[in-house]
């Protein structure tokens, strides 16, 4: 074997092509999901089984709306954070972080693919919820609000995974963060008008989903749109830091 350390070629000899990281990340997640049909089926059936007794059992609407909101937001956040941490723990994220590809767009592409998959997997459960408790117009809005919420939870899961150092920590952080955000969104109780809680509720990202499931109204949709756009931009900007932070979960310095 011959090894050398002489010159490294000139830029003119550069035959590499620039890769668009966002579709590259999207395609990766889509393919990985396609190659795990059992997991896909489980992800369809479990939300359906959880929603079924509420939908057909005549549960009070305010209770049912809370459970649906918790179910959908946990589904999105855990579904993003846990697989990412598992990849990180086995060194996959470190390998990806060594690639000459935009880290932020890659993570965004992954989150968008995750949101699209989550939307498909939650569709039967959402259809059941819509059929039993939502008007036609609210159902139409749900088709917009749920994927947007899932994009937010997907990116939230990415951020949480970057902060956590293990799957167990990630699960804990995800649960606490989502529950706090749900609480801030007025999911568990309605804050009194003009209070600080009411102000926070107006800017909380999960309000749109909960309001839609509870009342069929689209209150909070503008906040959700702005939040999702903002989180997407921030993810792209700090993507390299997120990826490097994630890569540390494999235990190497």
């Amino acid at each position: 074997m011959t090894a050398a350390t002489h010159g490294a070629g000139s830029p003119a000899a550069d035959r590499t092509k620039r890769v668009h990281a966002l579709p590259h990340g999207f395609v990766l997640e889509w393919r990985r999901s396609r190659s795990r049909p059992r997991l896909f089926v489980m992800n369809v059936l479990i939300p359906l089984v959880l929603a079924l007794p509420l939908a057909v059992g005549g549960a009070p609407r305010q209770h049912a709306a809370v459970v649906y909101a918790v179910l959908f937001t946990f589904f999105g956040t855990f579904g993003s954070a846990i697989p990412l941490l598992r990849d990180a723990e086995r060194g996959m994220v470190r390998r990806i972080s060594q690639l000459p590809i935009g880290a932020g767009p890659l993570l965004l592409g992954r989150a968008l693919a995750g949101a699209a998959l989550d939307s498909v997997q939650l569709a039967p459960a959402c259809a059941l919820v819509a059929f039993t408790s939502l008007s036609a117009s609210a159902t139409a809005w749900l088709v917009l609000v749920l994927p947007l919420t899932l994009v937010f939870t997907g990116l939230l899961g990415t951020w949480i995974a970057a902060v956590a150092q293990s799957v167990a920590e990630g699960a804990l952080f995800a649960a606490v963060t989502v529950l706090l955000l749900l609480h801030a969104s007025g999911t568990f109780r309605s804050p009194s008008p003009e209070s600080g809680g009411a102000l926070i509720e107006r800017i909380a990202p999960f309000r749109a989903l909960h309001e839609l499931l509870l009342t069929g109204r689209t209150d909070g949709l503008d906040t959700l749109l702005i939040t999702v756009a903002g989180v997407m931009v921030i993810t792209v900007v700090i993507g390299r830091k997120l990826l490097r932070s994630l890569a540390r979960a494999d235990g190497r310095r």
């Binding site: 074997m1 011959t2 090894a3 050398a4 350390t5 002489h6 010159g7 490294a8 070629g9 000139s10 830029p11 000899a13 550069d14 035959r15 590499t16 092509k17 620039r18 890769v19 990281a21 590259h24 395609v27 990766l28 393919r31 990985r32 190659s35 795990r36 086995r90 060194g91 996959m92 470190r94 390998r95 990806i96 972080s97 060594q98 690639l99 000459p100 590809i101 150092q165 293990s166 167990a168 920590e169 804990l172 830091k241 490097r244 932070s245 890569a247 540390r248 979960a249 235990g251 310095r253």
Partner: protein
């Protein structure tokens, strides 16, 4: 070629070159021939691991990584064929053996025709045919003007290197051509004589030859190659010893390393690299090593 025992710092150095780590002090400049900074897309780095997306096939893994590095799926397919993975490329990588996974790692590092190839222990897990294929692919990269840096403790692959750097406890202790390094230990042929019965009388080593007694026989370090062998045998037989086996070993890179460091090349697991580097994100905050 970076040669050194386990834990000596070879992988750390490669990770620095690959920009996976940032040096705590100083800087590393990787330049093209015209002096411009070498873009990351022109570096091909194969780690010593074999991590992949296990649920995806060999094709899908290779295509994804090669495209991410700026290469083409056709180039990845061509290397899959050359490394005899064409027939298995549609199986999930999770079903692959360690050696097959290692080959996919190498393909992913090489298929985009990088100008700087960084390989960490590239021959680990490879069968002889695949090792020859790797050698041929690297020769093509070299002919194309690329630089190849290999970290290994396998001295068998070191002979063909243009330069060898010995790494010991985080430091480069020698950096020269193989011939120049071997020159430093020329004249220290090791003659190992295994005995069936011990020599009764004294055995005098001829000339400048050094004699070392071992539990199973006698070792001689001769400055004259095998020229002293007849005299050694004569002395042993004359002293009543019965020779079972004679091994003659010409000095190699292990001997160079031992001469330079006083340590063996095989293992240096106790070596401590005094935290020379840190990941970029660690510059601002450090975490406790414990995890939940």
């Amino acid at each position: 070629m970076l040669l050194g025992p386990n834990g000596s710092g070879k992988t750390t150095l490669l990770r620095l070159f690959a920009r996976d780590l940032v040096p705590r002090a100083g800087e590393i400049r990787l330049c093209a021939e015209d002096g411009s900074p070498l873009p990351a897309s022109r570096i091909g780095y194969a780690t010593d691991g074999s991590v992949h997306f296990d649920e995806l096939t060999g094709h899908e893994n290779a295509h994804w990584f090669v495209r991410a590095a700026g290469g083409t799926a056709a180039a990845a397919d061509a290397l899959l064929e050359r490394f005899s993975l064409g027939r298995d490329a549609d199986r999930p990588v999770g079903d692959y053996s360690f050696g097959m996974r290692r080959k996919v790692v190498l393909i992913e590092a090489l298929a985009h025709a990088p100008s700087l190839v960084l390989l960490d222990e590239p021959t680990v897990g490879l069968d002889p045919d695949s090792a020859r294929t790797l050698e041929a692919v690297l020769d093509e990269r070299l002919a194309d003007g690329a630089a190849v840096v290999i970290a290994t403790n396998d001295t068998r692959i070191a002979n063909g290197a243009d330069r060898i750097a010995f790494v010991h406890r985080g430091r480069i202790v020698a950096n020269d051509s193989p011939a120049a390094l071997l020159e430093s230990v020329r004249g220290s042929t090791r003659i190992e004589v295994e005995l069936d019965s011990p020599v009764r009388g004294p055995v005098t080593a001829p000339g400048d030859t050094t004699r070392v007694e071992t539990p199973t026989g006698l070792h001689f370090i001769s400055p004259n190659g095998t020229a002293d062998l007849p005299a050694i045998c004569e002395a042993i037989v004359g002293g009543g010893g019965r020779i079972r086996r004679i091994d003659v070993r010409e000095p190699g890179f292990e001997d160079v390393f031992r001469r330079l460091t006083g340590d063996a090349l095989e293992d240096d697991a106790t070596a401590v690299i005094d935290e020379p580097v840190q990941p970029e994100s660690r510059r601002r905050r450090r975490r406790r090593p414990g995890r939940g």
